[in-house]
Subunit: 405 residues, 2 copies
């Protein structure tokens, strides 16, 4: 037998160079170290879930329908999950039926399947700038050329979107879809206003370009901030919608969904069956039963109040700790605020500087294909204790002063 | 707002034409119809699982560690799952550590990730002929050129494998890996003998070609048929191994694994995180606790005895019902037997002919890129009642007589 290591030293597929650690996943281990304060992960606080009740629910489902739940299921998803999604979507103004719903292993897989179905190498996708780093990883894995449209306090700018779309068309390039995170965007924390939702949908429809709406944060607005109508509700034929159980219930279940017209859903289902056949049936059943049961709403409302309070604690601490000129967004929900750090030279290693202060965060450059000269960081407040949030702001203040020119 | 349906009528990505319904998934709904007898699905009999015990296990895990299990977890997989895989792999002769293990959403996703990492469009993969239809779907979705090496009663023929490898090399083509299902192969039911395992590994190692071993049926040999040493155990550096909880426990959990040297595992993990972040943590924990607990072995042994008995019932019925000249394999485990039907003209629609007899099966052509002139069908005996198996054989006899020239 030879000692050669076949397959390891040979060239990988061309796309392999696009598989890079996400800055969130790369610091996953570091964020577990108690010497560090982590404001990196966009995690719901599962410590606020009544786990004994979830335990009883899972046991009841398995006791009553175990042979079915432990067996292969439909590639479209469990009936219960698809019905639960119909009810959730109605709350953001979308009238859909189970036939429009495809269950996915988290909305990450929805993003993967839509990109896989639509995008050849070199095709263009347009996203917000900044955008979700995990989406950038997907686009990279399919060798997509990503363009970004700036976000301000009202979300993506529709006029600039129209300009980018027209410029790409004029250059003879194929724009496959416009990727938008409308509520409490990751990473900016900004919500696309109702007026801009209409404008974004109009700009895309007028140019016959699909909108891919990724909306995991719709249901985690702070108290008083219920969801706005989804982009999907404004133009169901022109918008593919991605949803997720991860923020409104439990990311460990890895259950998300795609809503798309039935013909397109069927194509996405075929693509999905080739990837993982279907998402965990146990996870789907537990998620569906929880979000259609009586305890989902009160538990989530309590979490939303906690997230709002933590956001307030963090923003107050930033007010005390940041040097003059630093700006941060004022979220109305979700998990993140986005900081603009003036006077920090391009090229400065912000993650390294944070780690020197025993602080973990997401450097803003990771959220851009072509990072702008002004530097940014993303801070998550959703799962930190008040003490961590205050101490994190203190360490960030020290870090910013250390890197400002 | 326009009535155009953007995205639906535009061209999809080039690979979209490769997303075809698997013949198993396509008849999933029909197989549920009680007027039909289905011998199509390769399902374990989850009705033989003590679901109340699984229910108690899931409740205990969620009660004790719910906040962790419901949260995002490691992209490599849960520690408990990786340790469980180390123990399972030891039973087929592979000494691995947790660092070699990547949890996947079923072994289907393992197949997807390995193909994604290694294969550019036009690259060659060599598989058994016939091979698993779900693997053909994956290879198609990455625009791989599939070659097949005939299987006889001892599995893939190593001499023919060497010939195909050399011919591809001589033609200047890149062979990325050789895909092998060594135990109770899907669809042939044949097990690669110990001697041929050594030969296949040697042939590939001598040519510096990776082996991709897909081994979901290792633990479902009939009583007295424990697993042979895995191909991985014969050459750990040259074999990537895919495993699955689906046949030895529960497919609805969608938990599988990849074993690969750590550097390669890390690359596959990055690719996997872009697809679904990680498999369901609840599913991973339940599967790990079950297969390392005291009840896994006796429950599985009881299932193996039932599968052996059902196989005997089906083969006896085939002996009574088949016209002269029909041949079938004699499995020593797994879920399938593979029939050769002489005198059936190429082009005959075997699935259509079966459906006319209210019988659902997998037509053999689906398991070949270039179907041979002799026609085949796959029959599954794993989840049918004795009455269904006997009636299925009777309907198949009528079907074969109807289509023979």
């Amino acid at each position: 037998m030879t000692d050669a290591r076949p397959g390891l030293h040979r060239p990988f597929a061309r796309r392999e160079t696009e598989f890079r650690p996400s800055p969130v996943r790369a610091v996953f281990e570091l964020a577990m170290d108690p010497a560090y304060v982590s404001l990196a992960g966009g995690n719901p606080d599962t410590g606020l879930l009544p786990t004994a009740e979830v335990a009883d629910l899972s046991a009841q489902l398995l006791r009553e329908r175990g042979a079915e739940i432990l067996q292969y299921g439909s590639g479209a998803g469990a009936d219960a999950l698809r019905e639960a999604v119909v009810h959730l979507m109605a709350q953001t103004g979308s009238a859909v039926s189970g036939a429009d719903v495809l269950a996915t292993t988290g909305s990450q897989m929805g993003l993967d399947l839509v990109t896989k179905l639509f995008c050849d190498p070199g095709d263009v996708v347009i996203a917000e700038g900044p955008t979700y780093v995990g989406a950038m990883g997907v686009f990279g894995s399919y060798e997509v050329d990503l363009r970004q449209v700036p976000v301000d306090d009202a979300g993506m700018d529709p006029d600039q979107l129209a300009g980018v779309l027209d410029a790409e068309r004029a250059a003879g390039r194929t724009v496959r879809f416009v990727y938008v995170i409308p509520h409490h965007q990751n990473p900016s924390g900004v919500t696309l206003t109702a007026e801009r939702r209409r404008r974004v949908v109009e700009v895309c429809a007028a140019r016959d370009v699909l909108v891919l709406e990724d909306d995991p944060y719709a249901f985690v607005g702070f108290p008083g901030n219920d969801p706005l109508p989804s982009l999907h509700s404004l133009h169901p034929e022109g918008v593919v919608h991605l949803g997720s159980m991860s923020k409104l219930f439990a990311p460990g279940l890895r259950v998300g969904w795609i809503v798309a017209p039935p013909e397109l859903r069927a194509r996405l289902q075929l693509a999905g069956e080739a990837v993982d056949i279907h998402p965990s049936a146990l996870s789907q059943e537990v998620a569906a039963a929880w979000v259609t049961g009586p305890r989902w709403r009160p538990v989530l409302d309590a979490q939303r109040a906690v997230y709002a309070e933590r956001c307030r604690v963090l923003l107050d601490a930033l007010g005390r700790e940041m040097p003059p000129g630093v700006h941060w967004t004022e979220p109305s929900g979700g998990f993140f605020t986005w900081l603009t750090l003036p006077g920090v030279p391009p090229g400065t290693d912000l993650l390294g500087a944070a780690i020197e202060q025993r602080l973990v965060l997401v450097p803003g450059d990771a959220c851009f294909v072509d990072p702008p000269p002004t530097r940014h960081v993303r801070l998550a407040f959703s799962s930190g204790s008040d003490a961590d949030l205050i101490e994190g702001a203190r360490r960030l203040g020290a870090m910013v002063r250390a890197v400002q020119a």
